[in-house]
């Protein structure tokens, strides 16, 4: 009952948050300099031509009127029409979201794998030179931002040793039998491993670029948690029972130590989705982030609104999911 009330409260706050985001994004993108009509003004356009174009895109109305029209549309699932693509915003955004989600999830998996490995190794080999070396490597991973990792990876594994694709999501010549835009998932479900491999070869470098800084954070937090857990009574008891150090870390300490890391991963995952913007651009990856940059450059107001609102919805949904997962995994919260 307590959990149900908490979920209900979170849903209400989520709705308020999204409404706030909608107001802010709508206002801000209309206040900052640069409007789409000025960008498409042809040579020789007269005042009447400018007025005609402004009216054509509904920008001749007052801000409150524009907002009311937009909100009314959103309530009915109509997020407007993109000025540049001339397609419904919702179709465009939902069409690209799967690519970004798959990339983010793969980055998350890589980050947890990298960070987890470094943390466990560092704990297992604590006090020695290997731990120091791992700390140094981790520090480098943490201090270099993802877009720089992207450039390094493009150079190393795309140009000097070209084993991975450095642009796009899939090889254009391949025929895709997919019904959804979750290409990776669908290729696995359809057992089209040739497509799975091609998708992974495209996705690996951008995912790794995103994963390295996050992996370093995961390693740092998990290692700290593991170190604290290793001194708890039940772990000491396990050692006295004769279990080896590796067994103690993996089977006794890791589960409890992972709880703070889980919260961190949840929070960082939302940043990871946001971080895809530049990395997707560098890898010409057809995701939401790449589309967001074009939308901003072209001042495609309806598309910017749609993308920001979807990002906000994603952030809140992920945070909600993490809270629920935490409650499920943590017995103290589960039982009140």
């Amino acid at each position: 009952m307590q959990l149900f009330r908490a979920i209900l409260l979170r849903l209400v706050t989520t709705a308020v948050t999204l409404a706030g985001v909608a107001v802010i994004v709508f206002t801000v993108i209309r206040v900052v300099p640069g409007n789409p009509i000025a960008m498409m003004l042809p040579p020789g356009a007269t005042e009447a031509d400018i007025a005609r174009l402004t009216a054509l895109y509904g920008l001749d109305k007052s801000l409150p009127q524009q907002f009311a029209i937009w909100v009314a549309g959103v309530m009915q699932g109509d997020f407007g029409t993109s000025i540049t693509a001339r397609q419904p915003v919702l179709d465009l955004v939902l069409g690209r979201l799967p690519a970004t989600l798959e990339l983010s999830l793969m980055a998350l998996v890589l980050a947890v794998a990298l960070g987890g490995t470094v943390a466990v190794l560092g704990t297992r080999l604590r006090g020695g030179r290997t731990e120091t070396a791992l700390d140094v490597v981790n520090g480098v991973g943490l201090s270099v931002p993802d877009f720089l990792w992207a450039l390094v990876l493009i150079l190393l594994l795309g140009v000097l040793w070209p084993v991975f694709h450095i642009s796009g999501r899939v090889t254009p010549s391949l025929n895709l039998p997919f019904a959804t835009n979750f290409y990776l998932l669908e290729s696995l479900l359809r057992l089209r491993l040739d497509l799975t491999v091609d998708l992974l070869a495209h996705m690996f470098l951008p995912a790794l670029a995103l994963a390295i800084p996050l992996g370093a954070i995961v390693a740092q937090v998990l290692k700290q948690s593991l170190k604290e857990t290793m001194n708890l009574d039940y772990v000491v008891l396990a050692r006295t029972k004769g279990y080896g150090e590796t067994h103690v870390i993996l089977h006794q300490a890791l589960r409890n130590a992972a709880l703070p890391t889980l919260t961190l991963v949840g929070v960082q995952f939302t940043f990871l989705i946001g971080g895809t913007v530049i990395v997707e651009r560098l890898f010409s990856y057809e995701g939401l982030g790449n589309m967001a940059i074009d939308a901003v450059i072209n001042r495609d107001l309806p598309l910017i609104q749609g993308i920001v609102l979807l990002y906000a919805a994603l952030f809140t949904a992920v945070n909600l999911a993490v809270d629920l997962l935490y409650a499920v995994l943590n017995p103290r919260l589960r039982h009140g």
Binding site: N35, A38, M39, P43, T84, P172, S173, M291
Partner: protein
């Protein structure tokens, strides 16, 4: 299959191997041409919305659609879907003869009806053609056989030039009316050299050669154009062999790679760098304007910052344009600049102050060029403060006539007519101009409708001379477009800046 450590390792190795196999090798014979393009294609209708007036997208459109009149790589017009065109003697009617035997990509015949319908549609403001006011100068179309005639509602000497410029495309009447705007967006057809095979927004377009193309089937059967908007990523694309051709990269990268593993071609295009002067504040003083123009060593800036890739210009016309006049020059004369400033009471100890706006990274070395110019100005007694803005803000400020006293910008004019360079940039009532002087308005006004072509071009040259003598704008340079390509491809650059796959052949 049970997933364990061993099977995961196998899968990883397989991924790497398959990924490597899938990568095109530069040395291999090119079956499928891959181009890393510098811009996304948001929409397929070349006559509607912002994409229609974006010069960098036109090369993509021209691969699928034909314009009314063909434009050759040197910017000159040539028979295309229209094989003849012109006015009657009193300029009250236009006559166009349509090429016969052309088919649309769906196999249906292209007719004169398509031409008339495309022109009528372009003139209709409800379709959203941003340039409908140009097309609306024609009306009452009549079709007879392969001839289209129309009444001239308002004489525009450049109307046929617009037929190979922005939104000047022929679309299929019957097909468009059948499938509607959304259907056309989903499956566009044209009469152009390539047909759309597959399109992934923000990712790529895959084109198949049009075997029935009236200009002859293109050499490459399949062309994939990837949208790679980051310049360094494009360089990596060609350097790694993932793509065969790319364009618009830093000149240092171009120099590094051409002549090595890749070949390169760098030719001037119809895009210039310039500084708008707004007739406000200190720019109302002719001595300040002239000094600002004379104090800029354009050639040194081109040599030092652009590795020599640029052509110095002193008017808004490049050598390829119709009204280019090599006799109009503005000398680099810092001493002369100092004298002029001194006449107005300024000097290095008492500098004249104003703001110059510029983009940063929108064009090659834009900010660095402005920095260099500000440095040169400082030596003669001009203290300019640099304000960096986004290109979107530039458009808005320019349309509202609220640019700073000086503002760096680039201007494209791929038809090479003086109306679409000097005309729109300097005619006060134009939303693109920030110079509102009546003297210039009076000089330019009569030229808009001048029917005598020689007289019209001479008139524009006189305008350019007047502008240069009074320093009403500071033209800087004509850009050079760098193209890198695999040695197995021969690329023909187009002076409009459009990278056209049907002009590419195997070397």
């Amino acid at each position: 299959m049970q997933l364990n450590r061993r099977s995961l390792l196998k899968l990883s190795a397989a991924s790497v191997a398959a990924g490597a196999i899938g990568l095109p090798a530069r040395a291999q014979a090119i079956d499928e041409l891959v181009i890393a393009y510098n811009v996304n294609l948001p929409s397929w209708d070349p006559t509607v919305g912002p994409s229609a007036v974006n010069p960098t997208i036109q090369g993509l459109y021209q691969s699928v659609f034909d314009q009314f009149i063909l434009q050759q790589p040197d910017l000159s017009p040539a028979p295309g879907l229209l094989i003849e065109w012109g006015w009657n003697d009193d300029r009250t009617k236009v006559m166009m003869t349509v090429r016969e035997g052309v088919t649309w990509h769906d196999g249906s015949p292209f007719t004169a009806e398509d031409v008339a319908w495309s022109l009528e549609r372009a003139a209709n403001p409800e379709t959203g053609n941003p340039i409908n006011f140009v097309w609306s100068t024609l009306g009452n179309f009549a079709v007879e056989g392969n001839t289209v005639t129309a009444d001239v509602k308002q004489f525009d000497p450049t109307i046929f030039k617009w037929m190979y410029f922005l939104t000047g495309y022929v679309l299929p009447k019957a097909y468009y009316e059948k499938v509607g705007a959304d259907g056309f967006e989903a499956a566009p057809i044209g009469t152009g050299p390539y047909m759309v095979d597959k399109f992934e927004r923000n990712a790529f377009v895959r084109l198949k050669a049009n075997a029935n193309y009236w200009g002859g089937k293109p050499e490459f059967e399949t062309v994939t154009i990837k949208f790679v908007t980051d310049a360094l990523a494009r360089v990596a694309e060609v350097e790694s062999g993932n793509s065969h051709v790319t364009l618009e990269m830093p000149y240092e990268e171009y120099d590094r790679l051409k002549g090595g593993p890749l070949a390169g071609v760098a030719k001037p295009v119809s895009d210039i760098g310039m500084i708008f002067l707004n007739d406000i504040d200190v720019m109302l003083d002719p001595n300040v304007r002239k000094a600002a123009a004379m104090a800029i060593d354009k050639q040194t800036i081109i040599d030092r910052l652009l590795s020599g890739y640029g052509v110095k210009i002193d008017t808004l016309q490049t050598p390829e344009y119709d009204a280019y006049d090599a006799s109009i020059t503005v000398p680099y004369d810092p001493e002369g600049a100092k004298k002029l400033l001194a006449e107005s009471g300024y000097g290095p100890d008492k500098p004249v102050k104003f703001t110059i706006q510029t983009t940063r990274g929108f064009k090659p070395k834009d900010y660095e060029m402005v920095q260099a110019i500000v440095g040169l100005w400082r030596k003669v007694g001009i203290e300019a403060e640099i304000e960096v803005y986004e290109i979107a803000k530039h458009y808005e400020l320019r349309a509202a006539d609220t640019l700073a006293p000086a503002a760096f910008y680039n201007w494209g004019n791929s038809v090479g007519d003086p109306t679409t360079s000097t005309g729109f940039a300097m005619f006060g009532p134009s939303p693109h101009s920030v110079w509102d002087g009546e003297d210039l308005i009076n000089m330019i006004g009569p030229l808009w409708g001048e029917a005598d072509e020689d007289k019209r071009i001479a008139g524009w040259k006189a305008v350019d001379k007047y502008i240069a003598e009074n320093a009403l704008v500071i033209p800087l340079l004509q850009y050079v477009q760098p193209i890198l390509h695999a040695p197995g491809v021969k690329v023909v650059p187009h002076a409009s800046g459009a990278l056209l796959p049907h002009l590419m052949t195997r070397a």
